[in-house]
Amino acid sequence: MQMPDMLIPQVGIITDIIQETPDVKTFRVVDLKGNKAFDHMPGQCAMLSIPGVGEAMFSISTSPTNTKYMDFSIKRVGALTNYMHDKMNPGDHITIRGPYGNAFPVDDANALKGKNILFIGGGIALAPLRSVIHYVFDNRDDYGYVDILYGARSVADLVYHREIEKSWAEKRNTNVFLTIDRPDDAWEGNVGFVPDYFKKIGFSTDKVVVMCGPPIMIKFVLAVLLEMGFKKEQVFTTLELRMKCGIGKCGRCNIGDKFVCMDGPVFRVDELDQIPEEF
């Protein structure tokens, strides 16, 4: 149900909590009737809150093709996220409002649809990518080859690690490339930062790139992409700015003439040249 004002949340129930990494847990949320709280598109976000503790924006990490629930993969960094990690159990209530923001242009034939897609992710930022990746797998015939390049600090810090190995890597016409920053005895895969690994693999440019990660990773990967002949028009990414309202009013996420909560979080990289570099 849509509340009369977009600032007013509905109540949700946490049905499952999955420890992904030492500091990331995935929280599964449904509404009080046990249904998905609202519809969304890949890349959109929601405001979750515990009254008296805090409210913050999180990417919905499940795809719209999942009509039963929404997942949020949440890293502990502050008031709300610490509370969620330390105090919450399945069955607990939480407030939820959304969806907020634009989405990855998954159904646009000039953008992602029908194309080969290279997903590049770093750390917790695989969360928004997971929504698109699920969407692509659930509509597999609508897309070409899929490459997924994902890196984290250590093996333990790879979110969705089991799902990546057991499910994503097994999909048709799909390649998964994982890397960790520092060597680890239990790891036989690549060691090194995402941009270096990317260079080493050397992808062809006949694809669109969907990339999410810490700003520093984005910067370096983008430099490598351009060096390898990709055009900014082929690359989509997300911005993360402090948000409060989610509806373009509180002013917090404003950069240039854009409000990231409404005009973003998804941007085509060439669009970022049109706004001040305050992200």
Binding site: P4, K244, I247
Partner: protein
């Protein structure tokens, strides 16, 4: 144009009383030396001759702090109670041209794009805006620079103090209905009576020290990145102490924070919103860093938003209305007019 009426100034208390019969009435009241829009009562020290109120009519649409909803917590169970936000009808009398334009700025931000802000909308729907022409625009006023006419301030109803009378004219359906409701107190008047007064006001406004600003130079969207990257931002902010006074006293500043306070019995929480300021360091602070690290970036944001980003989003409407309040109140005398002039000079140099 709708009909013009007048009422003798000494009969205004009757007009106030009749207005207040069916709605709350707010108008400039002087208390402890400060002029502000406050609720009328029969002993209130109404002052229609003060130029600008300290606070702005914004307070009546976007209170400094307002409850959004309450939440009951029972163990880990949560219940949300939306709040009744349909306040009583009200009228604001005595709004100057700059503050009327400021409400249009707020309307654009809060109402023109989906989703609209229902709290703001409820109050706007309930309000009659009664403007008053400025008899004597002064020193820091620069509404003229933004194309505003202090002699014809608009609103739902426009009024003018002309000689011993207050002239009144409905501008919108809502305003005309109000004038109709007051008609028992009003007598017909000739709009032509106001031409001398209006000419005087315009003449005064145009000749104020800040009235002519080069807003046609460097303030269009193509110039945005150049203006953002101007080296002058490296020095403009130097004196700024980040107090936020300029944002709190501005009739168009509308950024807010959302926070919780305890209901007291520890079982309930009230979530409220309150004014916030882009001049504060924690405005954009995030777990992974802050995208506006120093006062330079924060200062730049305030001015770029008013002079560039807002006009880009709303068909050239500036986010500053030239009321001059921030100029009068800044403790270190920073001045938006000087910033506009310096930025425009850069553009001129670039063209030369």
């Amino acid at each position: 144009m709708s009909k013009t009426y007048k009422i003798a100034l000494d009969k205004l208390p009757e007009l106030y009383a009749q207005t207040a019969e069916n709605r709350n009435l707010y108008l400039p009241i002087r208390r402890g030396g400060t002029l502000n829009f406050e609720a009328w009562h029969k002993d209130a020290a109404v002052d229609l001759y003060g130029l600008k109120t300290a606070n702005t009519p914004k307070d009546l649409f976007l209170p400094q702090s307002e409850d959004l909803y309450t939440i009951k917590m029972d163990g880990t169970n949560i219940e949300v109670f939306a709040r009744e936000f349909f306040d009583k009808p009200f009228a604001i009398f005595g709004i100057k041209a700059c503050d009327i334009e400021a409400i249009k700025v707020l309307d654009n931000i809060y109402l023109s794009k989906q989703p609209v802000d229902m709290f703001y909308k409820a109050r706007r729907d309930n309000a009659v805006l009664i403007s008053l022409a400025c008899n004597e625009p002064k020193n820091a006023c620069f509404c003229h620079a933004f194309g505003l006419d202090a002699g014809n301030p608009g609103g739902d109803v426009t009024t003018w103090i002309n000689g011993d009378n207050l002239y009144i004219q409905g501008q919108t359906d809502k305003g005309s209905a109000y004038v109709e409701e007051m008609s028992g107190l009003l007598e017909a008047a000739d709009f032509g009576d106001l031409s001398g007064l209006q000419a005087n006001i315009r003449e005064t406004a145009q000749n104020l020290p800040y009235a002519k600003l080069p807003l046609d130079k460097g303030f269009t969207s193509e110039d945005m990145m150049a203006m953002f990257n101007s080296e002058q931002w490296g020095s403009f902010h130097r004196a700024c102490i980040g107090c936020g006074t300029c944002t709190y006293s501005c009739p168009t500043c509308s950024c807010y924070d959302i926070k919780d306070h305890d209901g007291g019995d520890c079982k309930g929480v009230t979530r409220f919103r309150c004014w916030d300021s882009c001049m504060y360091p924690d405005f954009t602070l995030m777990a992974h860093g802050n995208n506006r690290l120093t006062q330079k970036e924060r200062f730049r944001q305030r001015f770029m938003h008013k002079l560039m980003y807002h006009p880009m989003n709303y068909e050239g409407q500036f986010g500053c209305v030239g009321c001059g309040r921030c100029i009068n109140k800044c403790p270190v005398s920073l001045n938006i007019v000087k910033i506009i002039k310096s930025l425009a000079e850069v553009k001129e140099d670039a063209n030369a």
